[in-house]
């Protein structure tokens, strides 16, 4: 329905189906306008990211330490019990009557209040000691990644996006924007856009140094799991997971799929791209490999998790640099020693360094 359409004035009398059709069309037109504005560069590419960052600076911290501190603040505020019972009253003389009673039983109430306050303060003190101990314990046993300097967030084993044709094919019919998360660089997003796929990125980074203002890339500065929790049914036309999913460990991976699945429509495609565990140890940056809090899962584990969460018939593709293949090509020896060495090298190097698992959300599979 074109804006200002002369017919439009008479459509107030549409029936329910007609109305729904008009609203669906308006939504499509809004989507098209947004896509056009983004691609034309008329919207600053980092506008939404800047707004997100500005508000997240004012938001409460996350993590259990913060929540414990907040809960303790409440305990501290409530620890002192007030002996002064309110005497306000809506009834005539009520206030005077209450004040008399309060004065009369004051000695009695104060006795209990003193004991209650003393008990509450002792409990609060004990809780503070426990919280401090807990924090120390967590710091000592933390597997949290020490902060990495900018530029170390390499998120794949190679720059070769060998899986991009698979992604383009999987997402070409997406009915809504495809969510890519989390992206450490912008190559994926740029390649999808260049292939005509409507996609946006999710990037868990406090800095904006890596943004691509003017490129029309839509990047949301948010944790992947946090973003997944805010999605509503049908909001994404597909999901491409890469980057930090290699570090998050099996429990978080399971939680991520469990959060995404209910909000993805039937038939929506989920794609996971990751390095293999073998390739991880040979990452270009050894600091990143050492300091990352986790290691990539085997592709079979993703297949298992996807099936568990109702994603039907996962397909596994392997690609990227293949040192074992290179070694095979370069090795020409045929002696038993050469063959034994070849076997050892192949088992050490594994197959290709990367894999992609693709599955579609099934119908009523849970």
């Amino acid at each position: 329905m074109a804006r200002g359409d002369p017919e439009a004035g008479t459509t107030g009398a549409l029936d329910v189906d007609g109305r729904r059709a008009v609203l669906a069309k308006v939504r499509d037109e809004i989507d098209a306008e947004v896509a056009l504005r983004r691609s034309s560069g008329s919207v600053p590419a980092d506008l939404e990211q800047r707004l997100d960052e500005a508000f997240s600076e004012l938001s409460p911290g996350e993590g259990s330490d913060y929540l414990i501190r907040q809960a303790l603040e409440v305990v501290d505020r409530r620890a002192a019990v007030a002996p002064q019972v309110p005497v306000a009253s809506e009834r005539p003389g009520g206030s005077f009557f209450k004040r008399m009673i309060r004065a009369a039983v004051g000695w009695y109430v104060r006795f209990f209040v003193a004991q209650l306050t003393s008990f509450a303060v002792a409990v609060a003190r004990a809780l503070h000691l426990l919280a401090e101990d807990l924090e120390d314990l967590r710091n000592e046993t933390s597997t949290q990644r020490p902060p990495l300097a900018d530029g170390l967030a390499v998120n794949r084993a190679s720059d070769d996006l060998w899986w991009m044709p698979l992604a383009v094919s999987a997402f070409s019919d997406a009915s809504a924007p495809v969510m890519c998360g989390d992206i450490a660089d912008f190559a994926t997003l740029r390649a999808l856009r260049d292939a005509g796929v409507d996609a946006y990125g999710v990037r868990d980074s406090g800095d904006s140094s890596g943004t691509r203002a003017g490129e029309g890339l839509d990047v949301r500065n948010e944790g992947l799991l946090d973003h997944a929790r805010t999605l509503v049914q049908g909001a994404v036309g597909g999901a491409l997971l890469e980057g930090s999913i290699q570090w998050i460990g099996p429990r978080r991976a399971d939680e991520l799929l469990g959060t995404l699945e209910p909000n993805m429509a039937e038939g929506t495609v989920l794609m996971v791209v990751s390095s293999t565990p073998q390739a991880w140890s040979r990452l270009r940056d050894p600091v990143l490999a050492d300091l990352a809090p986790g290691r990539p899962l085997h592709p079979e584990t993703w297949v298992h998790l996807m099936q568990r969460h109702g994603f039907a018939e996962p397909r596994l593709h392997r690609g990227g640099p293949d040192l074992a293949a290179k070694w095979r090509t370069s090795s020409s020896g045929s002696t038993p020693l050469d063959q034994a060495l070849g076997s050892v090298m192949e088992s050490l190097l594994g197959g290709p360094d990367e894999y992609a698992v693709i599955a579609a959300r099934g119908a009523g599979t849970r």
Binding site: A8, T11, G12, V22, E57, L67
Partner: protein, 379 residues
């Protein structure tokens, strides 16, 4: 089991300016008209409605044969535990409990009440003979935690309460600001993290940047979290919108009407709503609605507003521009809103609610016949 002679209600807090409080009083009147004796028992009440019910301590002796109890469930409360221990047959009317994670980081005390509320909801499931909810979304939550026999029963809203005269002073002030140019975007609701007023600010920033540099945002409603209100003020300041955002707090009924009358569009970007009466109120006042389709919002709006599946600021800004600038679309939305409001009229809602009460009685009397596990009434 014989039908009850009386159905009394238990509610955590009875308040006159609260949709659930007003609903509870309407339900009491309806039950009385249906021939049941009915009173309200509360754990707390606002001063102006103290006489509309009694304190929960006065529930009195158990009467499992003649009396049933209906619990209005929306937050954690000692009232739920009193209700749980009563021997009378139990009904629950569920209005949703805000997810803890949306509130707790900002306000741990309210977060704790919500956490307790969710625990009480699960605790009451096996004890409850029949549970109703004011939206299909809420009914699904009941089923998910184990309520066996459920139904959708409408919230009883007296639309006449939405009508009235606008406060003249407020109307004059708002009109004066409108004369300077720029559209007025309105949202009504408690200033709370799950209502996501910060996302409305983001949308306003995008809308002013792309379409209407003079646009204003009016956020009517009292705060429930000091931390969030502070963050909202600072956020407006940080992104240079202080002069474009009006935060009048809680306002009188006449002032609220002035705000509805002076607005161009009602925008709701809440992350969670159990029903959202202000959406209906906006439709009543003929305001076009743009809303993010979270939780029960799509149930409430139906096809009478533009429901979005994303609240990216640029998308919301484009939707606002479309709604305020497209006469044809506004005409469609106005007609649909009038129909939607009519479908929620007190008369119709009372009739549907009475049907649900009767089916609850049938279901409980026949002790949950097999094959009938869910009774859903939809408008």
């Amino acid at each position: 089991m014989s039908p009850p002679k009386r159905i009394d209600q238990v509610i955590p807090t009875l308040a006159s300016r609260d949709a659930i409080g007003r609903h509870t009083m309407q339900v009491r009147d309806l039950l009385r008209e249906m021939g049941f004796a009915s009173d309200i028992y509360y754990a707390n009440a606002s001063a102006d409605v103290l006489d509309e019910g009694r304190h929960i301590e006065k529930l009195g002796d158990a009467d499992p044969d003649g009396r049933w109890l209906l619990y209005q469930m929306s937050i954690g409360s000692p009232a739920a535990m009193v209700f749980a221990r009563r021997p009378e047959p139990k009904l629950v009317d569920y209005h949703n409990i805000t997810p803890v994670e949306l509130i707790a980081p900002w306000d741990p005390e309210v977060g704790e009440e919500l956490r307790i509320g969710r625990a009480q909801m699960r605790h009451l499931a096996p004890l409850t003979a029949f549970a109703m909810a004011d939206s299909a979304y809420n009914e699904a939550e009941l089923k998910a935690v184990g309520y066996k026999v459920t139904a959708v029963a409408p919230l009883l809203i007296d639309m006449d309460e939405f009508a009235g005269r606008a406060d003249r002073g407020t109307s004059r002030r708002l009109e004066g600001e409108r004369e300077k140019g720029g559209k007025d975007i309105l949202f009504v609701g408690k200033v709370a993290p799950h209502k996501a007023q910060h996302d409305l600010l983001k949308a306003l920033a995008a809308y002013r940047g792309l379409y209407d540099p003079a646009a204003r945002l009016r956020l009517v409603g009292g705060p429930i979290s000091e931390t969030y209100s502070w963050a909202l003020d600072r956020f407006a300041e940080d992104i240079g919108l202080t002069d474009a955002v009006d935060l009048p707090g809680s306002v009188s009924h006449a002032e609220l009407i002035a705000y509805y009358q002076a607005a161009d569009v009602f925008v709701c970007l809440s992350d969670h709503e159990g029903f959202c009466v202000p959406l209906v109120e906006a439709m009543f006042h003929g305001l076009p609605v743009v809303a993010f389709g979270a939780a029960a919002v799509p149930d409430t709006v139906g096809d009478a507003g533009l429901v979005l599946d994303s609240k990216e600021p640029i998308r919301v800004a484009a939707a606002i521009d479309r709604v305020v600038g497209d006469d044809g679309l506004r005409s469609i939305l106005r007609t649909a809103a009038a129909e939607r409001v009519a479908s929620m009229s007190l008369e119709r809602s009372r009739s549907k609610f009475a049907e649900v009460v009767n089916s609850a009685i049938d279901a409980v009397e026949s002790e949950r016949p097999s094959g009938v596990q869910s009774v859903t009434y939809r408008s």
